[in-house]
């Protein structure tokens, strides 16, 4: 079967001449939905600085809490170490030994 090499061009040229559906205006529903979406987006944008402040506050609070916990942990540990000095430890061991092995 013979096919003309320019069939596509002829088809495209004819298709380009097809009547275009007249452009009507946007429906009220689309217009309203679009404006509503725009308002919502604007409201979101207005809240952005507040949200940023909220996030910053939250991060600071977490930081302070972590710092407090670590400081109190290390302070407690230091107190334990201080109380467990060599003299006290030896005295405790001696007391235990004396109490348990004492033979009159």
């Amino acid at each position: 079967m013979k096919t003309h090499p320019d069939s596509l061009d002829r088809l495209l040229r004819a298709a380009a001449q097809a009547p275009v559906r007249p452009l009507d205006t946007l429906s009220f529903a689309t217009e309203s939905r679009t404006l509503h979406a725009w308002r919502s987006a604007r409201a979101g944008a207005d809240l952005r600085p507040v949200l940023r402040l909220w996030h910053a506050g939250l991060a600071t609070a977490f930081g302070v809490a972590a710092l407090t916990i670590s400081v109190s942990y290390f302070a407690g540990r230091q107190a334990d170490l201080d109380s467990a000095d060599p003299y006290t430890a030896t005295a405790q061991q001696l007391t235990v030994a004396i109490n348990s092995n004492w033979q009159p």
Binding site: L11, L12, L26, T34, A37, W38
Partner: protein, 195 residues
């Protein structure tokens, strides 16, 4: 009654300040342009209204990014074309095109294409458009967009470059490849035609 000529710059400034009346006027001003683009590149299973709304929401939420270096209409066109392109990208299933699926009008166009070498008569333009739409549905979104802009809307390579952001070379290459694919499908239809 005709809409009075819109002072786009002043209107944009008011829209940025949140003036709803100006936003409505801008919407009315831009709607013919957006409707035209959406209709030209509407994916098969997408509602025209939904896509128009998606375009406008993008336009309005990005108005702060518009610097005025290009006319507003160019900027909006680009957003509209890209939104349609993304929507076309989601449409993955491309039904196979068979001669048996063509309508009576479309079959007449195919017969005419096979038998005659002249231009198709004007009364077959609608049938030709339907066939072209079916051929376009066989292409990937980028190819489809290029052919629509180049051959159906009569845009120049430079205009397509401006609307899509693709380089002129890329546009030419895509158009060439798309035409090859369309030719292949069209020849298949011509072959399947009962003489």
């Amino acid at each position: 009654m005709d809409e009075p000529l819109l002072d786009v710059g002043a209107c944009l400034a008011r829209v940025r300040e949140g003036d709803e009346d100006s936003a409505r006027r801008l919407l009315v001003h831009l709607s013919p342009l957006v409707l035209k683009i959406v209709r030209a590149h509407l994916p098969r299973r997408t509602s025209e209204e939904d896509l128009v709304q998606a375009v406008f929401v993008k336009v309005f939420t990005r108005l702060d990014q518009f610097r005025g270096q290009v006319p507003l209409e160019h900027w909006v066109s680009r957003i509209a074309v890209n939104t349609c392109f993304n929507e076309l990208n989601r449409e993955r299933v491309r039904p196979e095109l068979r001669h048996a699926d063509l309508s009576e009008t479309e079959v007449e166009v195919i017969q005419n294409l096979a038998q005659d070498t002249g231009e198709l008569p004007l009364e077959q333009a609608l049938g030709a458009r339907e066939i072209v739409d079916k051929l376009l549905a066989q292409l990937n979104p980028a190819d489809r967009l290029v052919i629509s802009l180049l051959h159906l809307e009569g845009r120049s390579i430079d205009e397509i470059h401006q609307r899509t952001g693709w380089s002129a070379t890329l546009v030419k290459v895509r158009a060439f490849r798309a035409r090859l694919k369309m030719k292949k499908h069209l020849q298949q239809l011509l072959k399947e035609r009962t003489p």
